[in-house]
């Protein structure tokens, strides 16, 4: 006898496992047991096979591998004794599955046992077959099972019936063989056999059209009669569950009737009466009674139309909704969700009760109810429903707020009858649960606000009020910041006051307060802060009196570690500081965002949409292509928008200028983040000193390229494509642009005449080893600035390396050096280095240029230094 297998009994093993304190201990016990069982298997031990397999089943349940025991099952099944067979079949069902080859070997044993004289062994075999039967086994064993459907003992008949279900599911072709036998099961007096018989017929109808036809024709009436008997008489007291006579049989019959009635008006007609009877007679104070009602409702909703019955069914569900049992409410909501497509009107009648379920204590019921409410909403009931939901939002759990908010937003967007209502509801949601609102929702809100020009004042004032109480809701803060930035002045001057509004007194500084609070909140993220900076810049134009304070707030972000904030802060503060005259036009309102395009980009469409924008052909490459960037639109974006004409002339000038001139250099404004060089261009452009006031007529004249005006010829040249294409790549090339502006700012009439003149080249410096030539040109439109092209030539026979040119000028001049073309100068005038210089003469016309230079280089590794002064510049530079 095997020394290992003699060890523990099953009971002892379970005890040992239970005594384990840790998973590691448990694994050790199992490993030891498995080793013993493996040894027993390889020794082909018979005495303890039965016990070992029982152990293996327990081990399997704990989740350890047991595949080595599979053959043991087959051996036990083949054994003669009942206990061996029982454990063998149990193991077969637990340890094996239909995909294993081993299973083929069991077919023969099963066949023998299905024909066994002991009906309990037949029962075991049927049970195993019903659980693990594969298609091949189904074909091989179907005749045996079919025969057993007529077995004398009903316990075998019922098992055979369920086994047949497995067989016909595996091999639907076999269905027709079972139709007759199944039909005879419907006449069963034994309750268990009857239930399984009805189930078999139901499944036959599902897999075979032929069976469905047969049962519909032959059995509909008798099934209706049977159900009537079951309903009216206590069928078998032993099948009572909580006082309800045999709910399972009720349910099976109702389900069978559903299959028969579905898609067949005649059959449906036959069962109408009994369904009505079940629906009215069943008790609804017990789970079992409700189960019958529930099944009955599902059958009524599935069979051919009878609206009277359907309303009855929906009313049963409505009653379920106020049941105290959570389960009943849960299933009722599920069913109503299905029913709403068939009987929407009837479901609407229970709206109030459904809405109550949204406030249920049970999270899964709340969720379902909310989904159902979502399906119930239409144009007529949206207002009261949303009102209720928003009220509930105030008191709901944190975990539920996310779902609830998303649904409310979606409903409001889909069904809002008018914009003011939409805005009102969204503000309520934002103030209650702004942190749960998704980005696209508040983006959409901003688009809608931007389009509702008559509500701008109302919206910004409402936001101002709401902000006071709900400043912790991130997305509310963003919308408020954006609107105050855009429509801040309406906050102060109460423009567009609606009748329903209470007047408020807000000063510009109050508005700035709001933004300051928002930007300083600890919870504000990058997006919010960046939006705050924009809003501040905009407010500096709206409220010039506050601009010093605004600048101080903006400057605080100068040292921000976030590049975006730092850059905005620096750029904006320089705009506020140095360019008061153009600032107000720089920060014009955002052009109206196109709703149709925006909603087109979103999957869901807003019903409130419709191209209501008055500016018909707006084309916003930034705002539209990337909605999320729209609120963040920065200074540069303005340049690419052909905005409806703003009032101030300076703005016209700048925007037209940028719009016309920069648009070919598309990279400049392609996205919210302009390339660095582009920003530089703009900054250079803006840092042009303080231009005196201009008359609008002169700028208009100058700017209209179509005008045949000789004095602007040079401007036309600049705005022509060839010179433009060069722009935006390096600061040097941006210079013409700058000169252009300077020309305007000085508004000097001689500016134009200066252009086109040429200046003689000079030899600026000459020594025994080095010569420097200067070529001059004037940036068009800017007589103060001279472009100098320096050319360095090596007169010595040695190569110069690490060549460096430096220059200094007196204070009335400004000098800018671009990088040189190289730092190695070939010997004997064999090549040259070029370098551009830009000199701006602030006392143009009064003092000539003068420059001191120093040149450092290495000859054969030795440092050399040359110095000199250039006084021979042509006059008038």
């Amino acid at each position: 006898m095997n020394p290992f297998s003699s060890g523990t009994r099953l009971r002892d093993m379970i005890r040992a496992v239970r005594a384990c304190k840790t998973a590691a201990e448990e694994r050790a016990v199992i490993r030891k047991e498995c080793a013993a069982i493996r040894a027993a298997v390889s020794e082909n031990d018979q005495d303890y096979r039965h016990r070992n397999l029982a152990k293996l089943m327990f081990i399997h349940m704990l989740g350890y591998p047991t595949h080595f025991g599979q053959m043991e099952c087959l051996k036990l099944i083949a054994a003669a004794g009942f206990p061996e067979k029982r454990i063998g079949y149990l193991g077969l069902m637990l340890l094996l599955d239909e995909r294993q080859e081993v299973l083929m070997l069991v077919t023969n044993s099963l066949k023998q046992d299905l024909n066994h004289s002991n009906q309990y062994i037949v029962g075991l075999a049927l049970c195993a077959l019903g659980n693990i039967c594969s298609a091949e086994m189904a074909r091989d064993l179907a005749p045996e099972v079919e025969r057993l459907l007529q077995f004398r003992d009903p316990n075998i008949r019922k098992k055979a019936a369920l086994c047949s279900i497995r067989i016909i599911k595996k091999v639907p072709d076999l269905a027709e063989n079972f139709i007759n036998a199944a039909a005879s099961l419907l006449k069963e007096k034994h309750h268990g056999a009857l239930i399984t018989g009805v189930q078999l017929c139901t499944d036959l109808c599902r897999v075979s059209e032929e069976a469905l036809e047969y049962f519909r024709k032959k059995c509909t009436e008798s099934m209706v009669k049977l159900l009537k008997e079951v309903v009216n008489s206590p069928y078998m007291p032993e099948y009572d569950i909580a006082g309800i006579a045999d709910p399972f049989l009720h349910i099976r019959l109702l389900r069978f009737l559903r299959v028969l009635g579905q898609g067949d008006a005649d059959a449906s007609d036959l069962m109408n009466d009994i369904l009505a009877q079940v629906a009215t007679k069943s008790e609804s104070n017990k789970n079992a009674g409700n189960a019958i009602l529930y099944e009955c409702v599902e059958t009524i909703m599935s069979i051919e139309d009878n609206s009277g019955l359907r309303v009855l069914a929906i009313n049963i569900l409505g009653r379920f909704l106020s049941n105290r049992d959570n389960n009943i409410r849960y299933v009722a909501l599920n069913m109503l969700m299905k029913a709403i497509t068939v009987e929407g009107q009837a479901v609407q009648r229970h709206r109030a009760t459904i809405l109550e379920c949204v406030k249920d204590n049970d999270a899964s019921i709340r969720k379902r109810a909310l989904e159902l409410v979502y399906l119930l909403v239409n144009e007529t009931n949206v207002m009261p429903l949303v009102k209720e939901l928003i009220e509930f939002l105030e008191v709901s759990d944190q975990d539920f707020k996310g779902d609830l908010t998303a649904k409310i937003c979606s409903i409001v967007e889909k069904f809002s009858p008018e914009k003011i209502w939409y805005i009102d509801q969204m503000l309520k949601v934002l103030s209650e649960a702004g942190n749960f609102v998704k980005d696209e929702v508040w983006h959409a809100l901003i688009v809608v606000i931007s389009n509702a020009s008559d509500l701008h004042g109302y919206t910004v004032r409402s936001l101002y009020r709401v902000f006071q109480t709900s400043s912790e809701q991130e997305s509310l803060v963003r919308v408020a910041v954006w609107c105050i930035g855009e429509y801040g002045e309406m906050l102060v001057n109460n423009v567009g006051m609606l009748d329903i509004e209470d007047p408020i007194t807000v000063t510009g500084s109050d508005a700035v307060d709001i933004i300051e609070i928002a930007i300083k909140r600890h919870s504000s993220d990058l997006t919010t802060r960046a939006m705050c900076l924009i809003a501040l810049l905009k407010l500096s134009g709206r409220f010039p009196s506050c601009s010093q304070r605004i600048r101080e707030i903006i400057v605080q972000n100068k040292g921000s570690f976030l590049l975006e904030l730092q850059q905005r802060s620096i750029e904006f503060s320089s705009i506020i500081e140095q360019h008061q005259n153009i600032r107000s036009t720089l920060v014009e309102r955002m052009p109206v965002l196109d709703e149709a395009t925006y909603s087109g980009k979103r999957a869901g469409s807003l019903s409130a949409t419709g191209p209501t924008s008055n500016a018909a052909s707006l084309n916003l490459p930034n705002g539209v292509a990337k909605p999320s960037a729209a609120p963040l639109v920065d200074l540069l974006d303005l340049s690419s928008d052909d905005v409806p004409a703003p009032s101030s002339s300076g703005g016209d000038f700048l925007q037209d200028l940028l719009g016309v001139d920069l648009s070919p250099a598309a990279s400049l404004s392609g996205t919210g983040q302009a390339p660095k060089s582009g920003t530089d261009v703009l900054l250079d452009l803006l840092s042009i000193g303080s231009p005196p006031a201009q008359s609008s007529t002169s700028t208009a004249d100058i700017l209209s390229p179509s005008q045949d005006n000789t004095s602007v010829s040079s401007f036309q040249r600049i705005s022509s494509p060839p010179s433009l294409s060069a722009q935006g790549s390096s600061p040097a090339q941006a210079a013409p642009m700058m000169d252009l502006l300077d020309g305007f700012s000085s508004s000097s009439p001689v500016a134009a005449e200066d252009n086109g003149l040429t200046y003689p080249s000079i030899v600026a410096f000459e020594s025994s080893s080095l010569r420097i030539n200067f070529d001059f040109s004037k940036a068009p439109g800017n007589p103060q600035t001279t472009l100098i092209q320096a050319k360095f030539s090596n007169l010595s026979p040695n190569v110069y390396t690490d060549f460096l040119f430096q220059a200094a000028v007196p204070k009335f001049l400004q000098l800018h050096l671009d990088p040189a073309s190289g730092n190695t100068l070939p010997a004997s005038v064999n090549g040259s280095i070029m370098q551009s210089l830009r000199v701006t003469n602030n006392q143009h016309g009064k003092k000539p240029l003068v420059m001191r230079i120093r040149i450092a280089y290495k000859v054969n590794g030795k440092d050399t230094l040359e110095e000199g002064q250039i006084n021979n510049f042509p006059p008038d530079l």
Binding site: G63, G81, F82, L90, E238, N287, N326, N327, S364
Partner: protein, 166 residues
């Protein structure tokens, strides 16, 4: 069709697991763990139904009930009535109770093969076989009787066999 019947204790140990749809053993363990994860985080006084589509695929519902230290779980598809499943679970537990007279977790642990036999008399291949606990008891008692009888019979031949083989 019923897809699985699980009994899990409040520590997450499986006490009975029966899958009527093929699941590889590793998957079975994973499902048991996730079902336990869902159940133990559910508050009291909520419905007995759980969304289980992520675990068991589309069209699957989960009903559970707590009895003392044990979660009884039925997983099934839309061809079964949820409320009736609750009743069926009641039948199962009542039968266990009759069998072990005041059933407790330990009875199920040490007699798991008998529990399987009981379950096999209630559900066969995922279909409801019998709903009367009296009928179920009759069948189970008959099987136990047969088992004892044949054990008694086989005891003698076995010892003779070993004696003969010496």
């Amino acid at each position: 069709m019923i897809k699985a019947v699980l009994v899990i204790n409040d520590k997450g140990k499986p006490r009975l697991s029966k899958f009527y749809e093929f699941q590889p053993p590793e998957k079975q363990q994973e499902l048991i763990r996730s079902v336990y994860g869902v159940l133990c985080s559910r508050p009291e006084n909520v419905s007995n139904f759980v969304q289980s589509n992520q675990l068991f695929g589309l069209d699957s519902r989960l009903v559970y009930k707590t009895f003392a230290t044990l979660y009884f779980v039925f997983i099934f598809d839309s061809s079964e009535n949820e409320l009736a499943m609750l009743d069926l679970m009641q039948v199962f537990v009542e039968t266990l109770d009759k069998c072990f007279s005041n059933v407790c977790e330990l009875d199920i642990v040490f007699n798991f093969s008998k529990v399987h036999t009981i379950l096999d008399e209630i559900i066969l291949g995922g279909q409801v076989l019998e709903t009367s606990s009296t009928e179920i008891m009759k069948a189970v008692d008959e099987i136990s009787r047969l088992e004892k009888a044949s054990n008694a019979m086989t005891l003698v031949p076995k010892s003779i066999a070993t004696w003969q083989s010496r």
